[in-house]
Amino acid sequence: MMNAFAVLLATKLVHLAPVDLAIIVFYFVLVLAIGWYLRGLSKTGEDFFLAGREMTAWVAGLSFLSANLGALELMGWAAASYQYGILAIHWYWIGAIPAMIFLGIVMMPFYYISKTHSVPGYLKLRFGESSRALSAICFAFMTVLMSGINMYAMALVMKVVLGWDIHFSIWVSSLTVAIYVALGGLRSAIFNEVLQFVLIWAGALLIPILGLIEAGGWGPLKARIAMNASAQYTHVWSPLASFDSNPMGIHWTGIVLGLGFVISFGYWTTDFLVVQRVLAAKDLRSAKMAPIIGAAFKMLVPFIVILPGLLGLALLPMKLTGETAALASGGHSYNEVLPLMLARYCGPGLLGLGITALIAGFMSGMAGNVSAFTTVWTYDIYRALMNKSASDEHYVKMGRWTTILGVLISVGTAYLVMSFASIMDYVQALFSFFIAPLFGTVVLGMLWKRATGPGGFWGLLAGTLSSIGMWMWVKMDPSALRFVALSPHAKDMAENMYRALWSWIVCVVVTVLVSYMTQPKPESELNGLVYGATDIPSEGAIALYARPVFWAVVVGIGFVVLNILFW
């Protein structure tokens, strides 16, 4: 124990006082206590893998958002806003809000009514076993790898910010997550995600409040940014008229079609990591409301992520640079902007809460990955392909052991990345190969009765392979960028968006062609799975303000107004 504290006290960027350590230790004790308490409520498969399907709209909605609100996300987008200005906000607004509303209003009824345990489970019901196997294996593999990468990145941040030993950070955080998810299953993950969501806001909200006070308000802040960087850094759409008129090297078509449509819809509507939280809702109305509640809060997240990056650009006395330049000069990198702003305003106590918010963010992302992996492995791989007829108790036991195994594989990946850093780029690219075509397959499955099983499978496979092909083409011949991303000036982000768009189109075209060449399912077998063949239960005679569609319109109006305000 003394060694652990000696490690904790060896600080670097930020110095922690005893009260800060008390806040961090209390956080770990509380999340473990929640897991311990919930162990008795997770005895059946429905309890362990779907939290008993008894979450309210608020709990499911906040958990849905929190699973995505990892600390890498917080620190990474704060860094991006320092580097690229307010353009980074697109990943929170057009890159999330329309897709979340679409999930709630259009897609959720089919996920929920079909009573599937997972997104691959829906593919099984709609397209058959081969589509489920392909998506489940890809998802499970990618999820644990991503979890390991996030774990390593977290440990690296803790080393830079606090001077903590990398091995200490990896093992303490991963064992904590393994214990509370293995004990309480998805319910425990969801409870902790809601707690983490509150702590993230409580710990991070002071930075923009104090930053705006110091800057003198939004107007003077814009003036400082115009002086330190460019007036374009505070405009959301006007710099996107051409590829070379903005620091991201991206055109508005890439943002709208690539990010706003394919990548965003692919992630928010088919990535089981987030969809699983909504499937745990107690009824269809809650399941529809949850993504809309998540969308409302998602619109506000830039206040604690993007604004601190912009404040750093305006107020920090030093100039932040890329990692390589920072290492060479001994200065600070873009990625350190959030901890630097935290240290700028927060003394003992507040600093501990801010660091707890970062740790909570890391752990919520990791728990999300692990619980989604556990469900997909147990139901869509183990039960579907290896052991079809075991008891419910057996599958719950398998789920608990898979949680621990998933965490250990993630730890192994973290150590692998530590030795071969370039693996990180490859795995992140691998994840992007799969998500856009999967959206094509799921959305056609839900909205088009004529789509057939072979159409779904070959469309998904062709879309995924085309994405890999385009990525390898640009790797081997960088000049191919002008075809894939429509411009030789396109940066990595732009390339990802256009690649996602093309692979989605390939998936849709192949699905449609193969479907017309093969025999469709009779309509009676599509009930509960496809629009037009499903009786969606009426919401009954409830007040207008209690209807999900009313709140979807409210959030949609807020989204449009914000984009116009910051045009």
Binding site: Y37, L210, P348, G352
Partner: protein
């Protein structure tokens, strides 16, 4: 949630209560013992009012969602 179980909001209340108390105490200590290298805007004593706010919200949620109460 099923009957007899503890609400998530109770856990959140406890978390805010303890964190708020620790931050408020630390902030009050700093009012009387200012640090040698204070953070920017130290004169606003953010730890005092932010800690007090978290404490009050924590007390409210802890009482409102106490396991023995029926919500």
């Amino acid at each position: 949630m099923r009957e007899g179980s503890i609400s998530i909001w109770f856990f959140i209340g406890i978390s805010l209560l303890v964190n708020g108390a620790l931050i408020l105490a630390s902030g009050i200590w700093e009012v009387f013992h200012p640090p040698q290298t204070p953070p920017v805007l130290f004169e606003l004593h953010a730890a005092v009012w932010w800690g007090a706010l978290l404490l009050l919200v924590g007390i409210f949620y802890s009482i409102r969602f106490t396991p023995s109460r029926k919500s």
